[in-house]
Symmetry: C2
Subunit: 220 residues, 2 copies
């Protein structure tokens, strides 16, 4: 019985994701699902990224996934872009952003005015990897402080993603970390994974990330 129910839940989830996908296609919105462990720097990355995209004429919006609190939405307010908070606590504290939650969030956005939408998923290196939301690409942010072994210990996340942003490069001098080993482990799990090193705090490497986004988005 349990297996059948789980299948039903996944089918329902994928059906909502396909509806999201066709909405995104209809309005020509490029959608990026950003995932990571808690505290890897997803929100700081968006704070750094969105103004640079706006300078290039790309109008952005954000769906902020969290179990509880509106802290991340508040941090993004000064950017002046539409932000919808999607909390899972009213739905049992789900450990990932679900496609139904994205669908509900879209009702609060003026889709005609958006060309790039970021979904900041809940900080969790496990469960969000299992759920398609209708996005164009999946990006995992890995803080350098988390260690070289994470791709081997959380393989699904790194297999599912198109890009890994290794963040907090500014801390490298203070950590005992072997960056080459980390990159080798990433390639071992997913040979097609793009990898960029950045510091959302200092701006290091951010232009390469912007270019990655623009290349994957293609012409408007």
């Amino acid at each position: 019985m349990e297996i059948r129910v789980i299948r039903d839940v996944l089918e329902e989830s994928n059906a909502r994701a396909r509806e999201n996908r066709s909405t995104f296609d209809q309005y020509g919105i490029f959608v990026v699902n950003i995932m990571s462990s808690p505290g890897s720097g997803k929100t700081t990355l968006l704070q750094r990224t969105i103004p640079l995209l706006q300078e290039r004429g790309i109008s952005c919006a954000v769906i902020e996934g969290d179990i509880s609190s509106t802290l991340d939405s508040e941090r993004l307010q000064p950017l002046g872009v539409p932000v919808v908070q999607a909390n899972t606590e009213p739905f049992g504290g789900d450990c990932h952003v679900g496609s139904h939650l994205v669908q509900a969030a879209l009702e609060h956005l003026n889709l005609e005015e958006i060309s790039m939408l970021f979904i900041e998923n809940i900080g969790n290196l496990v469960c969000p990897a299992e759920f398609y939301l209708g996005e164009d690409c999946k990006v995992v942010v890995l803080s350098l402080t988390e260690g070289e072994d994470k791709p081997l210990k959380y393989p699904l996340m790194f297999r599912e993603c198109d890009l890994c942003l290794i963040n907090k490069m500014d801390l490298e001098p203070h950590l005992d970390i072997d960056l080459d080993l980390l990159k080798t482990n990433l390639q071992k799990i997913n040979g097609r994974l793009d990898v960029l090193t950045v510091s959302a705090k200092t701006g290091e490497g951010i232009s390469a990330w912007i270019n990655w986004l623009l290349n994957h988005k293609g012409s408007p």
Copy 2:
């Protein structure tokens, strides 16, 4: 239907946890369930902790929870204590250590020779908080790099735990973090939560953590 199945799963989980609890009581084993985000330093903490407990005559063992890989168990091998690897990948890649997995792991340990058992849970600040394993206490390790807001964003974990170890204190000079605000946020979520600051890397604060364990364990 879904709700009934979830209730069945939880009841089954709690039944196994109660069986574990009675096994621990029978053998007089004090059990600590250690949880955190990925890469917060749980394994390094155990590498630092276990030799100090052994010096005090406390015989330790570890159940190493991971989705995939035996990397953490390998890191603990030099300590010379019994370590059982409990991987969830063969069981669908579960995002937490389940009570049935603990029960299966206990079969590989000589329980008469153990007085303190650490369960290193899967790196996940969400799901492991929901599951009782039969332990005496729950400890959450929070890396200082994860930011002040984590208690507010992942409240269940911090409500469920008895102690929060704020780890990687050695990085404090290189981070823009307000430690007082972090402590205020912890108390806001759980006024009865003990909080200790440590660096598993340098050993800072570790003696207070050892004393916390010994006080909670009580006499052998």
